[in-house]
Structures are given as C-alpha cells and as structure tokens.
C-alpha cells in the first residue's frame, strides 16, 4: 500500500515536472504578416484541431484588453509550428497587439498556455512613415499641398534642386521645433487652440534664418529663388506637417522622420516636374495651353503615376 502511494506520488511529480518543462517551451515569437495578418511561431508543433478553434486564441490591442478581435480565418503551416491568423479589417500595424494562446495542445497533450506580444520594430515604424510621407502619400501629387512653389520654381532643374534642399532643411527644423513647443509648452498650459498662430510664427523664424544663411553662403541660388524663398512661409506643406504631427500624435523621432520624408518627397516632385518643363519649352504647345495650363495637365499625369505607389508595404 505504502509503496504504491509513494510510487503514485513520484509519477505525479514527474508528470508535473515534465508538464512544466513543456509549458516553458511553448513560447515563441509573433509578427505582422501584411496589414491584415499575424503570424505566430510556436517552439513545439501544435495540433490542427486545437489551432482551428477560435476561442483558443484571444487577440486584442494592448491598450484595450476588453475589445476582442476575432480572426476571419486561421491557417496552420505543414510543419505545424507556424499559425497564421487573418483578419477581415486592416490592423493598426503601428500599434501593439497581444495574442493569448490558451491550453496549447501538442501531439494530443496540453502543454500549457502562453502569450505573444505583436509589434513592429521602431525602425520599421519609422521607415513606414518615411515611405508614406515621401512616396505613397506624396504631398504634391496626392494631397495637393505646396502647389504655389511647385509650379513657381519648377522651370529649371538647378533651382528646383536648390529649392528642394532648402525646403527640406526648413521643414525638418521647424517641424521638430513645433513638436517640442506643442508638447512641452502648449499642452501643459492647455493652449492647444493657439497651435496655428504658434506654428506659423515658428516657421517664419526658420525661413528668416534660411534667408539670412543662404544670402551669405550661396548668393547665386539666393538670387535664383528670389521671392519664393520668402514664400516658403505661405507654403501649405510646411504648416500641414506640424499640424499632422499633432493630429496623429507622433513622437519626437517620428515627427523628424515624417518631416524629412515630406520634404524629400516635395524635392523629388519638384525635380521631376523641372525635368519635364525644360523639355516643354521646346515643344509646340497649343497657344492657349502655354505656361500654367499645360503644367497642370503634366502634374495630373504625374499624379496618375504616383497612384502606383498606393498599397506599397515593405514590412
């Protein structure tokens, strides 16, 4: 009797030990797959029947544990360590998701529960922002901001490049400065409604700064840009970027990268347009279309081409 009891206890202990050992190895990693999928990688092969039950895998956004998101379909890879969840709507890939795997079953045995944290790396988020601002949602061709300078300075390639560089510099400096002002001065004092006035003032200061520096450093370019250098103040993009940074709650690094992307995207648009307009000078354009009207039609064709970037996802 006593021997049996001891033996039973031993078996039980072993089972618990083995069970907890298994439980420890059911961890794994998780990542986004496209913008509608999450891919889970388990350290042990899991059972098909277990994975296909939606109630075993609980998915929610990290800030709202109460709002459960149920996958539209679940697929298990042939080696049974990879499980792919696909959702009906696009996920917020800039945010963080939690996947709770309950009672993971491997080879017919329950090996414990585990939890996955799904998020993009910081670098991936920043790179996505950069691509979005420069190509996918190019400010000139898909949001039509900054058209005044775009049509005004795109007649010659060298002025276009100079303008692009100056503009990017002013944009990055003022966007970061506006972000800091908004976060550390306006928000604590509850003065959000002053954002337009404060931002435009900041931009004006930096344009004055660029004006002063360029006058000494590169008088040739300064003369070429003429009135358009001062007109950077009245360029929509330069005010839209700080406003969007605030609207989308970007952090410091994100604001900087977003402004850099928008600035370089503008420079790219300016350069492309200058290339075409130099050629247009020697073309036979119908008299009533000469000048701005034909420039608008060309910009329309560019806008069509830039539509090709929509839906571009690299990570």
């Amino acid at each position: 009797m006593r021997t049996t009891a001891v033996l039973g206890l031993l078996v039980l202990l072993c089972a618990v030990a083995v069970g907890s050992a298994f439980g420890a190895v059911t961890t794994g990693s998780a990542s986004f797959k496209g913008d509608k999928g999450i891919e889970l990688t388990f350290s042990v092969p899991v059972d098909d029947a277990w994975a296909k039950k939606p109630e075993n895998l609980v998915v929610y956004e990290k800030p709202d544990p109460d709002i459960r998101i149920s996958p539209a379909s679940i697929a298990v890879a042939p080696n049974r360590t990879k499980v792919t969840l696909t959702f009906k709507d696009a996920l917020n890939t800039a945010g963080e998701y939690v996947v709770e795997a309950k009672d993971v079953s491997s080879e017919g045995k329950v090996v414990g529960s585990t939890e996955f944290l799904v998020k993009k790396g910081h670098f991936q988020v920043l790179f996505g922002l950069f691509l979005g601002a420069s190509l996918i949602a190019n400010y000139v061709f898909t949001k039509f901001l900054g058209l005044c300078i775009f049509f005004g300075v795109s007649q010659k390639k060298d002025t276009a490049v100079g303008m692009g560089a100056t503009f990017t510099l002013v944009m990055v400096l003022s966007a970061v400065f506006c972000w800091a002002l908004f976060t550390y001065v306006l928000t604590p004092l509850h003065l959000d409604f002053l954002q337009i006035i404060v931002f435009i003032g900041t931009v004006a200061i930096f344009v004055q700064f660029a004006d002063t520096v360029l006058r000494k450093v590169n008088p040739y370019l300064f003369k070429k840009l003429g009135v358009y250098l001062v007109l950077i103040v009245t360029n929509c993009i330069i005010l839209a970027v700080p406003l969007e940074n605030v609207l989308k709650k970007h952090g410091a690094a994100e604001s900087l990268i977003f402004a850099l992307g928008a600035g370089l995207g503008f420079a790219l648009a300016l350069f492309l347009m200058a290339c075409v307009r130099e050629k247009l000078e020697v073309c036979r354009v119908p008299a009533v279309f000469k000048g701005l009207p034909i420039a608008f039609v060309v910009a329309g064709l560019f806008a069509l081409a830039f539509l090709g970037f929509s839906g571009l996802v690299i990570f």
Partner: protein, 219 residues
Amino acid sequence: MGRNTTLLWNGLIPENPIFRLALSMCPAVAVTTTVANGFFLGVAVIFVQVMSSATVSIFKKLIHPRIRIPAYVLVIATWVSVIDMVLPVVSLETYKNVELFVKLIVVFAIIISRLELFASKEPFVPSVVDGFGMGVGFTFGLCLTGAIRELLGSGTLLAGTRYVIDLAANPFLVSLGVQPLLVMILPAGGFFVIGFIMATFNWVEYKITGKIPASGGGH
C-alpha cells in the same frame, strides 16, 4: 459702373484668384471632389478675407512697414482660429472633409496678397468690398471645379446636401452604359480639370481681345 461694382466684378472673373491669378491652388485641387466641400471652404475664405481686409485697413497706420508681413500673418491666423471653432458647429460632417484646409487658410497666398496689394493702402469700404469680391471669386472657382469633377467623377451634383441630383442612377443613362469617370475624383482629375478651365479662360480672352494673355505668375 461704380467703383465698388468694378471691384466685385474684378474678383469674380478678370482677376479670379484661381484661374487668372493662379494663387492658392492647393485647396482648389484638393477639396473639390464635391460642390458642397468647395462651397463650405469658400465661405470660410470669404469670412477670413473680409475680416482680415477690414482689420488691416483700420489699423494700417499703426503697422510699421518693416514688420507688416508678420503682422498680416497674425491677423489672418486670428480670424482663421475663430472660423475654425465656428465651422464644426455648423456642419461637423462637411468640416471633417475639409478640416486640414480650414486650418491652412492661414497660408493661402490670395489672402495675404490682397492685404499687401489693396487693404494696406485703401480706405475701409473699398477694402471690404475687394475682400468680398476676391472671396466670392475664389468660391466660384471652387464650385465650378467641384461641379465638373463631381458630375464626371461620381455622376452626382450637390451630393451631401438635401438638393442632391443623382445622374449615376438615371435609368436612361444607365441603359446607355454611361459610367462615371473614376479618374475625375482621383487626385489627377483635379489637375486636369483646372488645367482645362485655365485654358478655356485664356481662349475666351483671346476671342474677345485678340491676344493670348501672359500666363499667371504661378504662386
């Protein structure tokens, strides 16, 4: 025609901000996917232009010429902040469509150029009339572009209001196989339509005066 009538007419056609002066093109392309959006933004611009012109023409003796640009920007920004708080109360739905552009009225070149060229030199009444004329011309430009794009792009007119005309559902047109041109409500359509309207303006002027006008400065 009295002077005030001339000023009003001037803003509407001969110096139309969008098609002739080519100022403030950004909103003209961006918000004109429907007439309602264009009209909504146009009204906001009329308000800001009239109020800023009035303010500057009253205080023109107090503004030192050397700091006039920052002063103008601050005046405009103040009136934009006011209209930015009023519009959501009028129609939240339309406001959401044009929200970014209402804030961006601060940097619309047309407003500051009217302050610099007109309101800073002229008395109160002509300044207000000139501001109103320019605002109405701007609204006219937005509505015309919006009407063409909406009609061709989605087959409706005045969508989003209670007077909506829906051609896309017209059984006769549907039976002919007529379909809306998607490209017109895409970004590219805005550029095309404005380019063609500008060319039409040039053509009309050519027919009347017999010479091709020099194209706008482009800012």
